[in-house]
């Protein structure tokens, strides 16, 4: 699965995109965030609290308890500030 990071999420992780092989018990976006939080201090810093993070599954806004299903691409980012 491709995982993308934007804005300060990208900056804090020092990474804009990575490809992960997820264990089968990671089924929802929240479980993916928990899985990522365990990868190291910068991940723990970003994914330790999800209150100011948003996400998209296959390029559509999604909620934390949404099933990842056969998603190809998940993105994590702060609330959007365009316009």
């Amino acid at each position: 699965m491709k995982v993308l990071y934007f804005a300060w999420v990208r900056e804090k992780l020092g990474c804009s995109e990575e490809t992960l092989n997820l264990p089968p018990e990671v089924r929802t976006a929240r479980q993916l965030a928990l899985h990522l939080a365990a990868r190291g201090p910068s991940y723990a810093n970003v994914f330790g609290a999800l209150g100011n993070l948003n996400l998209a599954i296959d390029q559509e806004h999604a909620s934390w308890d949404q099933d990842l299903g056969a998603a190809q691409e998940v993105a994590f980012f702060p609330p959007v500030t365009g316009g």
Partner: protein, 151 residues
């Protein structure tokens, strides 16, 4: 082409002309231009986005606007990259037979661009940079379109 995400500046008048030329059923054209303000000594704004999702997300909002109002045309351009004070950021043009539809659709599209389209602004000042935080009043503005029409 209805939606563009680009580094280049845009020409609002040329876009309005392209959208409405030869049409005799258009009574109202509303053009919204968003620009970079030099608040608090801001020296530049850098806009990042999520290629692919941005275009899809905006296209969903254009389709929602077209379902809700009788629109003769819609054009949206959003710039990315580094922009200085006074520069144009975003263009929304809506054309309709009557002004109420054109005004409401333009406001609807701007409210959704602000709160749903995956763009992020970083502000540069003399002494550093900071990511812009989302504003509660933009969320309130978007939320008003979820309740029944007001007029």
């Amino acid at each position: 082409m209805q939606v563009s995400v680009q580094e280049a500046d845009f020409d609002s008048a040329a876009e309005a002309l392209a959208l409405t030329q030869g049409r005799k059923d258009i009574g109202a054209v509303v053009t919204f231009e968003g620009r970079v303000r030099a608040d608090d000594g801001l020296s530049a704004l850098t806009l990042e986005h999520y290629p692919g999702m941005t275009e899809a997300e905006i296209a969903r909002h254009v389709a929602a606007a077209q379902a809700r109002w009788p629109l003769a045309g819609v054009r949206i351009i959003h710039r990315i990259g580094r922009l200085g004070p006074g520069e144009r950021i975003v263009l929304v043009i809506t054309a309709s037979a009557h002004r109420q539809s054109a005004f409401e659709a333009a406001e609807f599209l701007m409210d959704y661009l602000k709160t749903r389209a995956p763009f992020w602004k970083q502000e540069q000042y003399g002494d550093g940079a900071r990511w812009v935080e989302a504003r509660a009043d933009d969320l309130d503005a978007a939320r008003r379109w979820q309740s029944p029409a007001k007029r």
